[in-house]
Subunit: 311 residues, 2 copies
């Protein structure tokens, strides 16, 4: 059994703060590590409320350079410095994010209390691994918005296959060092006969994947990012009645988000980035569920646990 | 009787959000007009909560270019644009504020949905009227902080002197047009004899003044801004026990803020910009009151009414 990944929406509003909704931001945590997707104004305040404003944050992935996804970054960077942070912070976003941060008073690269490792994605980026650790990696693909915009897929490192101890014993292997060798992918000799791991160890078990796709109209990039994901977080700015406006503004309806989830074979869908015109999100969820049942509205500071695809 | 000025603190925390306190921001309203002092991250969210996020805001006065006083400005400017604002917004702050705003994606000067009128204060500014309307004016003076920093004094336009109808009648003036002429400062003829307004109309009645002084150590600029003010809002980052630290960091203790209020002859004192180390502000208020009794802690979204010095 593997530890679940915890997804915590910090802001589920679109464009401007309204109806008590904060601007875009969402954390993803597992085993003491944390990354952040988008950083609208107020994100550090929401992190503080969630008890998550601190050192464990290691990377921020910004979808695009609209204020409601970006303007919380200067304050977050400053506050982490005032907290005496020493470890670097990775920041990934579209080209231009470095110039923006470079113009912020008090933010320096390399000379401040800690280092910012900035990765800029050129507008023509098609598919790129933008962050890699031993525990997970994050890849980016372009979305369909009014300005260059990238969605992200967080994918845990695959776990080794399941070790079949009965099969090993049946093949004459003695529990102990030979078991470990097989489990690590090595071959052992039993009475001069080779026993290979293929017969004893099952296939690698993929980790959970979580796709983060906003702001965007339904698009191939989003479907690729969401392919087989444990959870898709998708732009659902509008309801059915505003499909035309969604198309004009580079956003999605909740139903369209559900179509992406269905087409991509995702296991769950979290709707977010709700237009201020909707006082309640329940109608949007209902529209999505007509297409894809495992859909819910993201709620601020309400965590969702994403379990591995295989136990 | 004149309409009071309403002062609403939006954030009373210092440097970083903590203990539920937001970052610096304070509105001042009178007769449908509104200005804002400082604009830390989250200010637009606090304005929204206060029901004040809208068109009536006409000017923002930024004390200095530290993030906790500044980083809410990009989001506020953007949101006002998304609200289809048309009237210009004045922004006053230290030199460098134009470059910062100019580097913000989506913010343009003159080409956006509305105009930003930016006034930059050079570092050596000693005393300058930075904003003037028929109802009030705002002047700036330097404070004592670690970076160039300006305090502001909002001062209502003086009202005409009180009209003494009894004195006018005693001088033989008939109520009607001659009363109006006198009230407006004109001279009238009564049986060939001149009656001048000096004898009938009292001296001009000064409007309320409100001084906004943070971040700063006690200084002459602050005392001048607070001179005879109806209300002084002053940096009170620390308590007595941290006086040395206050001096080192360019801040004040609550007691020092009270000394400024007393020395300047202010009528009231609102303490703000509290360090996260103080869970309660009551001890700081008590220290201030030993020096200046009419002191209180600023509370977020709790308005203070400042009445004219003369009714």
């Amino acid at each position: 059994m593997s530890v679940p990944t915890e997804v915590t929406p910090l802001g589920v509003g679109g464009a401007i703060p309204a109806r008590g909704r904060h601007l875009s931001g969402l954390t993803l945590r597992r085993e003491g590590r944390m990354v952040l997707f988008d950083c609208g104004e107020g994100t550090q305040l929401q992190l503080l409320r969630a008890g998550l404003l601190g050192d464990r944050l290691e990377a921020v992935f910004v979808t695009h350079l609209h204020g409601d996804h970006l303007f919380g970054l200067p304050g977050l960077i400053s506050t982490l410095g005032l907290q005496d942070r020493e470890k670097p912070l990775a920041i990934v976003g579209p080209e231009g994010i470095r110039d923006f941060l470079g113009a912020v008073p008090g933010i320096t690269f390399g000379e401040g209390p800690y280092r910012l490792d900035i990765t800029e994605l050129p507008e023509d980026t098609q598919h790129e691994v933008v962050y890699q650790t031993d525990a997970f990696r994050v890849e980016a693909r372009p979305l369909a918005h009014r300005v260059p915009c990238f969605g992200y897929r967080y994918e845990e490192t695959a776990r080794a296959g399941r070790f079949d101890a009965d099969a090993a014993r049946a093949a004459g292997v003695t529990p102990g060092p030979d078991f470990k060798t097989l489990a690590r992918g090595g071959t052992v000799l039993v009475d001069g006969r080779e026993v290979t791991p293929e017969a004893i160890v099952g296939p690698e078990r993929p980790g959970t994947a979580v796709a983060y796709c906003l702001d965007t109209a339904p698009c191939d990039g989003g479907r690729a990012l969401a392919s087989g994901a444990g959870l898709l977080i998708h732009d659902a700015t509008f309801g059915d009645g505003e499909a035309a406006r969604a198309g004009e503004t580079g956003h999605s309806t909740a139903r369209q988000a559900a179509e992406v989830a269905r087409d991509a074979g995702a296991r769950g869908l979290l709707l977010t980035h709700f237009s201020a015109r909707y006082s309640e999100t329940q109608p949007l969820v209902a529209q999505a569920r007509e297409v894809f049942e495992s859909a819910a509205a993201a709620e601020e500071l309400v965590s969702v646990r994403v379990f591995p695809l295989e136990a």
